[in-house]
Symmetry: C2
Subunit: 111 residues, 2 copies
């Protein structure tokens, strides 16, 4: 719908892997974290399909853990395949983002 949602296509996997790499998280809090850093539209409707996809591909593993308050939480951990995948995604990102940056930067430089 939004331009924002289109711009995230193909990079959500990378974002999720990057967060999980730092420390294992569960879906609900992952969504909040991504919103906090500026990806404001990343709600649960986005995050859970991504987590399922990544788990199916073997890049993360989920483990249910009891919670003292509220429903149980499914924590996700990065696998070594997931780490490799993250490297690839970051490389691709650089390959795509840098020509776009150049295209967008050299403009209005009449100062």
């Amino acid at each position: 719908m939004t331009l924002r949602s289109q711009l995230l296509k193909g990079i959500m996997d990378g974002c999720v892997l990057a967060v999980i790499e730092k420390e294992p998280v569960y879906g609900y809090v992952l969504s909040k974290k991504l919103q906090d850093i500026g990806l404001v539209d990343v709600t649960e409707g986005t995050i859970y399909p991504v987590l399922l996809r990544l788990q199916k591909k073997g890049f993360i593993v989920g483990e249910m853990q009891p919670s003292e308050a509220g429903p149980n939480r499914k924590y996700y951990y990065l696998t070594s395949e997931g780490k490799e995948e993250l490297e690839l995604i970051i490389e691709e990102w650089d390959n795509i983002a840098s020509p776009i940056e150049k295209l967008f930067k050299r403009r209005g430089n009449n100062a």
Copy 2:
């Protein structure tokens, strides 16, 4: 299909507008230009739908011009609405790209 193709979602319009802003171009050569700067998969199957979409929205206008060798060329020019749209797209890009960059940058900093 490719990760690359997903990463370009929602940003092709901006890329095309940015190129046309510098100088009017026709579709065939626009595709080559974008490939040259690193967007290697941007073929005519990508470019012509984008040009039609942008024209329908009033961001560019096309004008057929005779060619001495080969088929005629349809040159596209940026409108003032197109310029405004480009500004918006670049702003959105910055809003999305910068948190992603941060997520990807602060890694492997054990040097």
